[in-house]
């Protein structure tokens, strides 16, 4: 029942969003149902496209886990998804719908490249400095978006998205002109010097970005279990008016959530630049900012869920390339399956909510 002021009541507000606190079994069960449902629907799509679904799925998973190389690739792919996804999960819990992770990622990569280009002689400080700059520029955009939301209630989806397009244009220009490698043909920056590259873990092909992701996971688990900010974020997300009445600084929380998610996206941009790509170009992100949204939603906005989702989605991405090679199915099928998983999860959540209350 809507109240007289038209403001959703507490029950209404929490009923429809993916509420972070629920029984573990109920949550796990609905995730399993969602995954099965999503793959079932995906199988229909594959069949329509003329590929035998079972064989395609076998190729998909074999391509992701079938060899040590593949597993390493999955972990490398999962790291930026994890970092961005964790930030988005935190923001979404405050109902700050940052869709601009893509642009914030690009900006972070641009900033890191710029630092290396203007100050290559920093030596040991080059790598951490580049990552700090990457995080800071992403966070700056997040701050703008957050303030616009907190002060003027500007729609975060639209503002963050517009930044995506604007930043992409800036990226396109930067690799064509100021940051372009003078010796190269394509619009791309010069290769990142070894001093700035991320070290690898032991003798694997996995770089330390994975550790950054795991550390961030731990930090966010603590934030939401023990930290006051996590509690405030959840309260603001549930109902801003109730939170305000309870004395929570709603505006500051909104801005912080936005800054956090954008900063982590920028950091991911730096990590990918210095750990995998080693060169700034227009395709540096390959859509990771949007895939991370899927990761955050599939992970049901909880840090451990996002960790699992990041690995799972990374497996789909890596396996999808294999599936394209062997079955002739466009890798875009993976994007469809991911979206189907999200929709199925939304439905499964809803059903489990209805049966729980």
């Amino acid at each position: 029942m809507t109240s007289l002021v038209g403001e959703p009541t507490q029950r209404e507000a929490t009923a429809a969003a993916p509420a972070p606190r629920r029984s573990f079994v109920g949550g796990a069960a609905s995730t399993v149902v969602a995954v099965v449902g999503g793959f079932a629907l995906g199988a229909i799509l594959l069949a329509i496209a003329g590929a035998p679904p079972l064989a395609a799925y076998v190729d998909l998973f074999a391509g992701a886990f079938g060899s040590r190389r593949a597993v390493e690739r999955v972990l490398v792919e999962a790291s930026p998804l994890l970092v961005i996804g964790l930030g988005l999960g935190a923001a979404y819990r405050a109902k700050v719908w940052n869709i601009g992770a893509q642009g914030q990622f690009d900006l972070g990569a641009m900033a890191a490249t710029s630092l290396i280009a203007v100050a290559p002689g920093l030596g040991a400080l080059l790598l951490p400095g580049a990552l700090v700059v990457a995080t800071a520029t992403g966070a700056a955009v997040g701050w703008i978006i957050g303030v616009l939301k907190a002060r003027y209630d500007a729609n975060v989806v639209i503002t963050s998205l517009m930044f995506n397009y604007i930043i992409f244009s800036a990226l396109a220009w930067s690799v064509r002109r100021p940051l372009k490698d003078p010796d190269g043909f394509f619009p791309a920056s010069a290769s990142i010097p070894d001093a700035a590259r991320l070290p690898l873990l032991f003798d694997t092909r996995v770089n330390v970005a994975l550790l950054v992701g795991l550390a961030a996971t731990a930090a966010l688990v603590w934030l939401f279990r023990r930290g006051i900010l996590g509690f405030w974020i959840d309260m603001v997300g549930a109902s801003p008016t109730v939170a305000e009445a309870a004395g929570i600084p709603v505006r500051r929380v909104l801005v912080t959530a936005s800054v956090l998610s954008a900063g982590m996206a920028g950091l991911a941009g730096g990590l990918v630049l210095l750990g995998t790509e080693f060169r700034l170009s227009m395709t540096i992100s390959s859509g990771v900012g949007f895939t991370a949204i899927v990761v955050a939603l599939l992970g049901r906005l909880r840090p451990f869920g996002i960790l699992a989702a990041a690995i799972f989605i990374a497996a789909l991405e890596v396996g999808g390339d294999d599936m394209q090679r062997t079955q002739g199915v466009p890798a875009a099928a993976v994007r469809v399956i991911q979206a189907l998983l999200v929709v199925c999860l939304l439905l499964a959540n809803r059903v489990s909510e209805r049966t729980a209350t």
Partner: protein, 320 residues
Amino acid sequence: MSWEAVIGPAAILPLLAAGIRLAMPIVLAAVGECFCQRTGVINLGLEGIMLAGALSAFGAEYSTGSPLIGALAGVGAGLVFGAIVAALVVEARIDQIIVGISIVLLASGITSFAYLDVFGVTSSPPRVQGWPLWEVPVLSDLPGVGVVLFRQPPLVYAAVGMTLVVWWLLARTRLGLSARAVGERPDAAEAVGVSPRRVRWIGVLLSSGMTGFAGAVLISSLGLFQDGVTAGRGWVAVAIVVLARWNPLGAIAGGFAFGLVDAFQLRVQATSGGVDAAVPYELFQALPYIMTLAVVVLAAMRFRRDAQPAALGTPYVAQH
């Protein structure tokens, strides 16, 4: 680049005409979304729905050669995705923002996949004819106005007609009154016999169908399809709804403003030195989005939210 070539006397009229043509998809989507949001539902899936409509229209026109069938296919695709949105938002009462984002992900994934699967990767993309320009007899010979307003593809006139119909529906009919009531006080509306569920379904389907049609209009003026061809127009349409304070007539004006900026930046790019221009062309590519961002911020700062439907974004539980 000379300003003469962009807005000089010889260039200004074709610029305005192009502005109208480019504005149409956004106007259609924005007007439909106005209606939908007035019933209290935010349909955030417009970008994906427009893409789906665009691909369906392209595919249908490519295989049948008929732009009319393409347009109908666009509407059909819009309605299909609209039904999915309505089922999730009105029936299952899932958070409208998340549903919108998910639908965009789903629709853009499906269109990307379907296009690649059917057409594959080609060096020169397949094209369709689109509608030829239709010159309104007598009126198109008027100096100035004639070129701009009366020499447009038929879809433009159809789009203008549709938007006026939606405005009239919302402002002057019983359905429109019911819709607005549901958007403000769904429980009160239900008490007098209106079905909020039915009205919201209509709102979602209307906005989705119009947005699918907008995709068809886009394809008609471009003549081809490519991944992400909508380039954010669906999102801009949602922004315009707020700027227009949920008034379809305002949405028409806002959409035209965007179309004009779009036409302007394209013209600047075409007449400048290209890659050697002093001002980078990427800046002009970003111009429509910079403008939309500025507009959103301005609207949020200046306009008080009293024009916003009170029940916007709130799922409604029937009170039987």
